[in-house]
Amino acid sequence: MSAQLWVSVVQIGCFFGLVALGYYLVLEGADFFNFALGPFAMFSGLTASWLMAKQGWPLGLAAVLGIAIAAVLAVVTEVALVRPIDARTGGGELPSLIAVVAVLFAVEQLAGTLFGRQLMPGRSWLPGTSLDLGFVTVDGQTIVLVAATIVSFTGVWLWMRKSKYGRILRAVGSNREAARTLGMPVGRVRLVAFALAGLVVGLAGQLFSAKAGVSFQSGFGWALSGFLALVIGGTGSVWAPLAGGLLLALAQTLVPYYLGSASLDYAVLAVAILFFALRPSGLFVRRVRV
């Protein structure tokens, strides 16, 4: 395998890891997989690409607006949809699942209606810059993506350790009932988790679509990949989603390289069934605190 492939593993792995980090935050705060995070990332990327290509906006402004919209979408999903439906159905898993799939579909169609249904090509944040490591060349966008990933993970890690809400989020994640009994603001922390997840995947969508392009249906596949990355990584620590993302990217790059392109989907299915059957809690499991 050529060294250049490793660069793409790192790059895709960072992206999957960021989306999985979004899942992780929502899972800690709300005990629930927000599949709509993939389309939020797509919406963020597509908004910025469209603003730049069709409206002539500068990159920085378009990117900030895109990320902000992803966060707004996440908050609206929680406040206007998940919370009321949870309240009505008593918090069952199936109604919430259907609700996020409906959000996924609606956000996808909203993007398709607003920005058109064709692929928007990516535009690098650091064109003309590349890093020559001797055995391999890393392009500017990959450098930005890796740097942003490290910053995001470190930021979330520090936030969950140092800030008031971050600590509450950890407490809620390890024992919701106890947290509620102790009078912690469980509902507000949930909202913060959703918003933060929106920011993280919004950034991920920006950076990845700048590299690989984006269309209104990209979010569906991203949602699945992020979910798998989290399942592989587990929820043992803030960094587990990144490990899961990198492993998933490695598998997705290696398998077609050695076994042909169709085997990728078989391999992903096999990995998923294996993980769900044997280790549904992922590789990095939190030690149970009694």
Binding site: R88, G112, L224
Partner: protein, 334 residues
């Protein structure tokens, strides 16, 4: 007063059940008449029928029993490819293909259901969806069987006692089949079997304790639902005489979830109504152009939030309220 003759007429229909059967038959015949010889309308009717069978296939396992499978795009495709293969590689009559497709889909659904029997909720959704993706790759990859990206073309039409059915007749037949399946599924809903299904969604332990094995119950309806969806794929393929890997995409499964929700889960006809609405919104409404799917998505969200009974459930509530209001005024007059 003026309502009395109508009430008498309704009363002469023996029960709500016969009313439902006759009413839906009238509607089916009306759709057949509406489609007529118009090619565009025939396409809409065919698509509506296919979606309706897909939604009816989803209805029993998902809406009644709460057993989720997102591999429906695969089941529909199996029905389609079964027609393609039987038509091009054998001399067998096409109905054999419908049967084979239904059996293959049912068997696959049972195997997949068995392999995932311990999973629930999000994990089950992900695995079945990934299965759908893997199946899509298989369709592209197994060129010898499926024709790869090109698919299978020039499929011969259905013959009936030696004469070929023209497209108009075939689509009329398809719509009648949808009606028959709709009647059957709605009757199953109210039967003891349907009662066991619906109870297994909310109180599986009680169904087990009563003597019905819940895992076997779930597998049975997963298989039956897959067979119904596969029939839809088979009929669609017969009418269009071609099938490829893009005919039934992964996104179809989202429609399959939403259609019964939108129409109303309280009755199998809700699934059919949902299918009609999808086709109307996404293909027929020219004014909305490409925003039809968006309207559909928003409508689903609205139903989830404010009208969990779906359109039929809401209409039923309204009808009950009206009837109640009528009784109340009559009582006041007396």
């Amino acid at each position: 007063m003026s309502a009395l003759p109508l009430q008498k007429a309704v009363g002469s229909v023996r029960s709500a059940e016969s009313a439902r059967i006759l009413g839906t038959l009238v509607l089916t015949v009306a759709v057949i008449g509406w489609a007529g010889a118009d090619l565009f309308r025939q396409d809409l009717a065919l698509l509506g029928a296919t979606y309706a069978l897909l939604a009816l296939g989803m209805y029993m396992p998902f809406n009644l029993a709460g057993a989720l499978s997102l591999a429906y795009s695969a089941y529909v495709a199996i029905g389609g490819y079964s027609v393609g293969l039987v038509a091009t590689k054998t001399g067998w009559p096409l109905p054999v293909a419908y049967l084979l497709g239904a059996l293959a889909s049912a068997a696959l659904a049972v195997v997949l259901g068995f392999a995932t029997r311990r999973l629930s909720g999000f994990y089950l959704a992900a695995v079945t969806l990934l299965f759908g993706m893997a199946f899509q790759s298989f369709l592209l990859d197994a060129k010898d069987v499926t024709g790869g990206a090109v698919g299978i073309g020039s499929i011969r039409p259905l013959t009936f006692f030696g004469s070929e059915l023209d497209r108009q007749t075939f689509i009329a037949l398809t719509l009648l089949i949808v009606w028959i399946v709709g009647v059957a599924v709605d009757r199953v809903r109210r039967s003891p079997f349907g009662v066991a299904l619906q109870s297994s969604r909310d109180v599986p332990a009680a169904v087990e304790a009563a003597g019905v094995g819940v895992p076997a119950l779930r597998l049975t309806v997963l298989g039956a639902g897959a067979a119904i969806a596969s029939l839809g794929g088979g009929l669609f393929t017969t009418a269009n005489q071609t099938i490829g890997p893009d005919t039934f995409t992964l996104h179809l499964v989202m429609l399959a979830i939403f259609m019964p929700l939108l129409g109303g889960q309280g009755s199998a006809w809700g699934a059919v109504l949902g299918a009609v609405l999808v086709v109307e919104l996404t293909f027929n409404l020219q004014i909305f152009e490409r925003s039809g799917s968006l309207i559909f998505g928003v409508a689903v969200l609205a139903v989830l939030l404010i009208a969990p009974g779906g359109i039929i459930g809401y209409a039923g509530q309204g009808a009950r309220w009206l009837r109640g209001a009528a009784t109340r005024t009559r009582g006041a007059r007396r």
